[in-house]
């Protein structure tokens, strides 16, 4: 691209064209996050309240809550994930096309919540990378909207066009989707179809 030379740049601004194009792409993506509401338990009711008239997530472009994962880009895991449901949850995540983001709404999906029992997954980040964790049991809809805004700020930092044009992703936030909290590195950052790697043993609790 001549003197603009966006490809191969390793500094924070990878060229004028890529930066502006990134801004535009990110602007479009962050303002049209279509949630896939995985309303599993009580947080699902607060999720419904968030879509409802008072908190109105439509203000942020996120009202198109499609129930097919193929048409969504934001998975909101709202509620307790049990091991029986884990496979279905991971399948839903896998079915979502890229780019996709995950909000773990509530303490149950963030860390297992108040359930440290035989049937509950201790945090949905055991199965998939999570972008924003929202504490609360259930969190107020305001808190989840705050999470959405934080996610929008996170999306602003991505650099999809630069990556496309050959840039590297050594910088933080450049088009990566990994979880920022990874108790088991081998587990939380995998994006393969395995639920857990067969030979890694994180050990009990």
């Amino acid at each position: 691209m001549g003197s603009l030379n966006p490809a191969g740049a390793s500094g924070p601004d990878g060229g004028f064209f890529a930066t502006k194009a990134d801004w535009l792409v990110n602007w479009g993506r962050k303002n049209s996050l279509w949630p896939m509401p995985l309303g599993l338990s009580c947080c699902g009711i607060e999720l419904m309240a968030m879509i409802g008239p008072r908190f109105d997530i439509a203000r942020f472009g996120a009202e198109a809550a499609r129930f097919s994962p193929r048409q969504c880009d934001l998975l909101i895991v709202a509620g307790t994930l049990t091991w029986k449901m884990a496979e279905a949850c991971r399948t839903i995540y896998d079915q979502m096309p890229d780019p996709k983001w995950v909000i773990a709404m509530g303490v149950c999906s963030s860390s297992g919540g108040m359930y440290d029992s035989y049937a509950v997954v201790q945090g949905v980040d055991m199965l998939m990378p999570v972008d924003v964790y929202v504490p609360g049991c259930p969190p107020r809809p305001d808190a989840v909207i705050d999470a959405l805004l934080k996610l929008q700020k996170k999306i602003e930092r991505e650099r999809p066009v630069e990556l496309l044009l050959g840039g590297d992703n050594t910088d933080e936030g450049a088009g990566t989707r990994t979880s920022t909290y990874a108790p088991n590195k081998a587990v939380a950052t995998t994006r393969s179809h395995e639920v857990l790697p067969a030979d890694e043993s994180p050990g009990p609790a």
């Binding site: 029986k84 035989y118 049937a119 639920v195 043993s201």
Partner: protein
């Protein structure tokens, strides 16, 4: 007349012991093999139209270990009766009451799922709440609250298993 008096003619000598619980409910203690007979009589002769719940209590390490509890409710007379039977821990078996009360089906399946008590004659006794491949009985007292190596257990039960043939999954 109170509940125990009302049901005495119906059950005759089948109840080894009768009592009243702290909450005021009439309780009967019976032999496990008499469960179907007693409950049938209570339904037909004493107008207990509906079964409220079927569950079990684990008295580990005391033997007989399990105590299966049925509770029936009579809307016509406005009272309840609780029937209890102790079964041993090695192979706990109790007759089913699904032919008397279809609504007890899920309760019996849950009992089997959580304790391992087998209800003989149940048309489809499989696990209700845990996945079908689960090997343990969670509500037993010797089962830890956090489960047994949950990660490894469920890793073994994973997608690949479902994709393989049923024989290979065994």
């Amino acid at each position: 007349m109170n509940t125990l008096e009302r049901i005495a003619p119906a059950i005759g000598k089948l109840a080894a012991k009768t009592s009243t619980s702290r909450g005021g409910t009439a309780c009967l203690e019976i032999e496990p093999r008499d469960a179907h007979a007693v409950i049938a009589r209570l339904r037909d002769a004493a107008q207990f139209e509906t079964c409220t719940f079927v569950t079990a209590v684990d008295h580990f390490p005391a033997e007989p270990r399990f105590e299966v509890v049925w509770q029936l409710h009579s809307i016509a007379h406005g009272d309840r009766v609780r029937i209890r039977a102790r079964v041993g821990g090695a192979e706990p078996k109790v007759p089913t009451i699904v032919d008397l009360y279809p609504g007890a089906a899920y309760g019996e399946r849950e009992c089997f799922d959580m304790f391992g008590v087998v209800f003989q004659g149940h048309p489809g006794l499989k696990r209700l709440l845990m996945p079908e491949e689960y090997d343990h009985f969670p509500l037993r007292k010797d089962f830890p609250h956090q489960g047994i190596e949950p990660d490894r257990l469920y890793r073994e039960w994973d997608r690949a298993r479902h994709l393989k043939s049923p024989e290979a999954a065994q």
